[in-house]
């Protein structure tokens, strides 16, 4: 009966599914990165220098840390465009807290993280409770925090007081930039959460088919609030690290970061439609974006031209991975 007829076909599918869909795309990205290294290593002076590699790690952290959270958000079929201003505002908040409101550094950091959790949760709550599209909810946060950061500071940098903690956060540990270490640790955490926890799997389920997830007794509201609270927290963390690095909080910082983050995630093969995506993919996406950005500068490419190139690359990357994935999966849902 059905067993026999469906067996061969489905096994083939299953294999393709795993090999093809998912990792083919990741293999492609790896290849791209290797290629970039070869090309840039031979053409751009100093690209391969240790300093530059460490510098790239540091830059990667700015995109990466937030990207882990945004990956889950997009897998759940939502979007978060508030990262950039959120980071800038967080850097202002921590600096003001430590310098002007005299909270001391550690408490200021804590306050900032809580605040991030707060505005994220707010956006998530608007989505979960009132069905405000997440694009709008986070657009609101984007506009509000962006304005607030500049308003509170008159666009003046808020100088951080000298502090060992901040020096470490902005500096290096055993020669490795602290933000990079934070990024890598968080990557491990998120990769684990996404793959091996009930929360992570529920996120995939919600993205794959919200109605079914609900019928299976999964609490959509809880998950959605958590998702955005997480990105809020990560944005705040990024902002703190940025402030530590710059020695000051800047309301105008991190402009456009949200697009780099989203680009990294989708380049990594996460589908905006939800339900599909991996942390590893995002990691590779972050790497691609960082390496290209770094290389273009080293090659002395005009900074305006860099945007053009970035735009083309985003589209091409997604194009390739859409085509690969489509090839690999031919089931009813496709």
């Amino acid at each position: 009966m059905t067993v026999t007829d469906s067996a061969p076909r489905s096994r083939a599918d299953a294999v393709r599914h795993r090999l093809g869909g998912r990792s083919l795309n990741e293999i492609g990205l790896l290849a791209a990165i290797v290629l970039l290294y070869v090309v840039l290593g031979s053409s751009a002076a100093g690209f391969l220098s240790l300093d530059n590699q460490l510098g790239m790690l540091r830059d990667a952290a700015t995109i990466g840390i937030a990207a882990w959270g945004v990956t889950l958000v997009i897998i759940a079929g939502e979007i978060d465009i508030s990262v950039g201003p959120a980071v800038a505002f967080a850097s202002v908040l921590v600096a003001k807290g430590a310098a002007e409101w005299g909270l001391g550094v550690a408490p200021a950091i804590l306050m900032t993280l809580l605040a991030g959790l707060g505005w994220g949760a707010l956006a998530g709550w608007l989505r979960a409770r009132f069905d405000v599209p997440s694009f709008i909810a986070t657009l609101g946060v984007w506009s509000a925090l962006g304005g607030l950061g500049l308003y509170l500071t008159d666009a003046l940098p808020v100088v951080l007081p000298e502090s060992g903690l901040m020096t470490v956060l902005g500096g290096t540990i055993l020669g490795i930039p602290t933000p990079a270490i934070v990024m890598i640790v968080l990557f491990a955490v998120f990769a684990y959460v996404a793959r091996y926890t009930a929360y992570g799997r529920s996120v995939y389920a919600v993205g794959g088919n919200p109605a079914a997830a609900r019928m299976a007794g999964i609490d959509l509201a809880r998950i959605r609030v958590l998702l955005f609270a997480t990105t809020g927290l990560l944005a705040a963390l990024t902002g703190i690290l940025l402030a530590a690095r710059l020695g000051s909080g800047n309301g105008g910082a991190a402009a456009g970061l949200e697009f780099d983050v989203i680009a990294a995630v989708v380049i990594g093969g996460t589908a905006l439609a939800g339900g599909r995506g991996t942390m590893l993919g995002t990691l590779l996406g972050v790497a691609v974006i960082t390496v290209i950005g770094n290389g273009l500068v080293l090659l002395g490419v005009d900074s305006f031209l860099q945007n053009v190139i970035r735009g083309v690359i985003i589209v091409v990357a997604v194009l390739v991975n859409v085509i690969i994935t489509r090839r690999a999966r031919a089931t009813r849902e496709s």
């Binding site: 009966m1 059905t2 067993v3 007829d5 469906s6 067996a7 061969p8 076909r9 489905s10 096994r11 083939a12 599918d13 299953a14 393709r16 599914h17 684990y192 793959r195 091996y196 926890t197 009930a198 799997r201 529920s202 995939y204 389920a205 794959g208 088919n209 109605a211 079914a212 997830a213 609900r214 019928m215 299976a216 007794g217 999964i218 609490d219 339900g275 599909r276 999966r329 031919a330 089931t331 009813r332 849902e333 496709s334």
Partner: protein
């Protein structure tokens, strides 16, 4: 060509059509001729290739090889429009209406009548009204389809197909979501159309329906056309055997009455439950080991009733008692804890997480059981899934096959398995056999009975009254939002159910 039902020259000729999706060979070298005025049933198990053949005929998909000829003219690569011009019109398996549009706009979807650049709304409304009462439906053409019940939507779709005055009318499971009353409306409409000389291709998993409407039946299996039989002469088990490819089809006979101990405390007890507007006041008990059927017309509110019990919709009044303990305010989480599980009637949209494997779809309802600490162990997932897969004999290549690659019946079993995994003892099954083939239905009946024998309490909803006597020990019939009748034992028959459901 009206009136010529002899089939001298064919309305449609399918010649060597082949179609594959990725790795899936959905259709292999299909040959088929249907004469004008002939009603041809298309039979086959889930995944046999019926809808694929239909999608090719209606120009939605291009065949990899082979030709389709309608009324002597070949259907080229022109897609849906070309097919439409050749006189093919189709009611697809998936609801294909735009809920935001009025009935009239849907009837003319994609080829609205124009005056100059603008759509001629007047003409459209007139045409729509004309078609609707040609089929004896009183539906306001201006009503947004979003306000219609699924039943009415299905009828609107059929009206759309009829409106195009086709030479070939294709209906892909038009009644899968309908109950007796609407089925009659559909069948009489189809009959009228055929008598007007239109060739009809009719897909259904309900054999008794086929007997009423079809002249001949073509049986498909694994993408191939096996045989075409004369409906009057063929007997059911033979047809089923053709479909399954096994010598003897599964028995769909009514089993011996099961002994249920109804003395102890009921596992599920509902008192005066109200979910306005459909459910006014419903009470019933279900004991361990019992299968309670819920009968009634489409729209009698069974879905709403189940959703309220499972905590998805708030009840406006009444109490739900689980194993003797009343539940104050049912929420999905709470009811899950208490061992209540509900499978939705709309399998595709509310049941499956398409991108996930069968195993993940099963453990979805309770990760707690496959964790050690906070960590989900793939090993445990596999084991849990495999156990249920074999317990319900779900036909799948491997536990992690994407669930969309399973046939309808096996998808349904996987959704049921989800609740067994969660340890539910009270299973609310809403239309568990909707769109499922005959053999798979028999499978599901068997599974349901086994689960009951294990001491679970089961509520079985079906719009297909014929099947309730086959599974249930007892059937409560809903009418006007109330538990109007209760039938069991010998007087539980299709006829008694129908009259109970329709009684004024």
């Amino acid at each position: 060509m009206a009136g010529d039902a002899a089939g001298s020259e064919s309305a449609v000729v399918v010649d060597g059509v082949t179609k594959h999706y990725g790795a899936v060979q959905a259709l292999t070298d299909a040959h088929l001729r249907v004469a004008p005025g002939e009603v041809r049933a298309l039979l086959g198990r889930n995944g046999a290739g019926k809808s694929t053949l239909i999608r090719v005929l209606s120009g939605v998909e291009r065949a990899d090889a082979g030709t389709v000829t309608v009324a002597g003219r070949e259907l080229g690569s022109g897609g849906v429009r070309a097919a439409g011009e050749l006189g093919v019109s189709t009611v697809h398996q998936e609801l294909s209406l735009v809920t935001g549009f009025s009935v009239a706009e849907n009837l003319y979807l994609g080829n609205w009548p124009r005056r100059g650049a603008a759509i001629d709304h007047a003409a459209m409304r007139r045409g729509a009204a004309e078609v609707l009462d040609r089929l004896g439906l009183d539906i306001d053409p201006d009503r947004p389809v979003g306000d219609l019940s699924l039943a009415l939507r299905q009828l609107v779709e059929i009206s759309r197909a009829v409106r195009e005055n086709p030479t070939l009318l294709i209906l892909d499971e038009p009644t899968s979501a309908l109950a007796a009353a609407e089925v009659d409306v559909v069948l009489s409409a189809v009959g009228r159309i055929a008598r007007a000389g239109v060739a009809v291709l009719y897909v259904s998993h309900r054999l008794e329906e086929i007997r009423r409407i079809a002249d001949t039946a073509t049986v498909m299996r694994d993408g191939r056309i096996v045989e075409t039989v004369d409906v009057d002469k063929a007997d059911t088990s033979a047809v089923v055997a053709l479909m399954t490819g096994e010598r003897t089809g599964p028995s769909v006979q009514r089993p011996a009455a099961r002994a249920v101990d109804r003395t102890g405390t009921p596992l599920l007890s509902v008192r005066g439950l109200a979910v306005p507007p459909k459910v006014v006041d419903v009470s019933f008990d279900v004991h361990p080991g019992e299968i309670l059927g819920l009968g009634g017309l489409m729209g009698s509110g069974r879905t709403e009733l189940l959703r309220a019990i499972a905590g998805f919709d708030p009840a406006r009044g009444g109490t739900v008692t689980i194993d003797g303990t009343p539940v104050a305010a049912p929420t999905p989480a709470a009811m899950k804890q208490l061992g209540v599980g509900m499978t939705p009637e709309d399998r595709k949209h509310e049941g499956l997480v398409p991108l996930m494997g069968v195993d993940e779809n099963i453990v979805l309802s309770a990760y707690g059981a496959v964790r050690s600490g906070p960590t989900i162990r793939p090993g445990l997932v596999r084991r849990a899934a495999t156990a249920l897969i074999s317990r319900l004999s779900i036909a799948t290549a491997s536990p992690d096959t994407p669930i969309v690659n399973l046939s309808g019946g096996n998808q349904q079993k996987a959704v049921i398995a989800r609740w067994l995994h969660a340890g539910s003892r009270i299973l609310l099954l809403d239309e568990p056999t909707r769109g499922v083939d005959v053999a798979a239905k028999a499978e599901i009946y068997r599974v349901v009975r086994e689960l009951a024998d294990e001491g679970n309490a089961i509520v079985f909803v079906s719009g297909e009254l014929e099947e309730l006597p086959l599974v249930c020990d007892r059937v409560v019939v809903l009418r006007d939002g109330r538990a109007a009748d209760e039938l069991s034992g010998p007087d539980l028959t299709t006829e008694s159910l129908l009259s109970a459901a329709m009684a004024a």
